[in-house]
Homo-oligomer: 151 residues x 2
Amino acid sequence: MKKGLSLQAMKCSESRYSRCMYFASGALARKIEKLAMETWRKVSLSPSHGYLLMMVLDQPGIQPGSVAGQLQLSPSTVTRLVEKLEEKKLVTRTTDGKVTRIHPTAEGKALYPELELCISQFHEKLDGLVDRTSADHLIRQINQVTDKLPY
Amino acid sequence: MKKGLSLQAMKCSESRYSRCMYFASGALARKIEKLAMETWRKVSLSPSHGYLLMMVLDQPGIQPGSVAGQLQLSPSTVTRLVEKLEEKKLVTRTTDGKVTRIHPTAEGKALYPELELCISQFHEKLDGLVDRTSADHLIRQINQVTDKLPY
DNA sequence: TAATTTCATTTGCATATACAAATGAAGAAA
DNA sequence: TTTCTTCATTTGTATATGCAAATGAAATTA
């Protein structure tokens, strides 16, 4: 019945490395990323691209640096993400002197309901696996620690 | 004084996206990865490579699939990691039928003390930023959630 | 105003990671 | 034994991400 996992299958808490923040944080992030990827696939966007587009829809004219701050990504990563959304004709960039602004296109705007659906489905999916209270608590704790770590 | 961070600088808990597990886990993992990278730089290894080598030293003859399970990485990722350690002459691979085993070289073994140092320095560095009890607590909580998420 | 510094963004390059398909071998079933 | 299935690993390809250097413009200083 159980397929292809005899060696790999392992609860992370059974690993001798699981007590290390490096693995704990990495393993969680990879699994969450995967879960999110499944959710956003229906709009042919990665979760990062999806959230970025959402931000641009909520805050039209937003600057890349502000995206980087809010999404906790490096400026260069934001540039790449925006490039891809631009290729897909979902956003445009305008530059005025030092300031670059990202604007949604009509096509991008049209995606709003679906993006909202992705977000709520992602949260539902998570709710089905982890009870809401402990997830919320975990998120708060993670953020507390993240805020203490250097940029 | 403060340099180059006006737009990006932001506590993650101030972001409207910080309440989402996707960002919380990703942001934490990226910051921890960075912290760890600084620590392992002195042995010219990424943290993943360092931990993998450590595992091979602790469990000589270990199979890639078991590494994948313990480190919560995909088998293909483990293959790439091992390839690089092999290039650096720190480990060798032997294949006997279906079974592949990873063995440390003398050069790899010689690195053991330094690897231990990296691990303890990483933990010290973390201790300097986040108090030990809450870090341990967080790790346990993360692992609990991770274990509930699908492979 | 000219020179310097700061800032936001982008580019070039490198790393980390995964999925899906391919490989090669072992075990089970016919 | 021949075939089919399962398994562990590897390979091909793709995504995500970051650092350091480059760019171009604004702000500050001299």
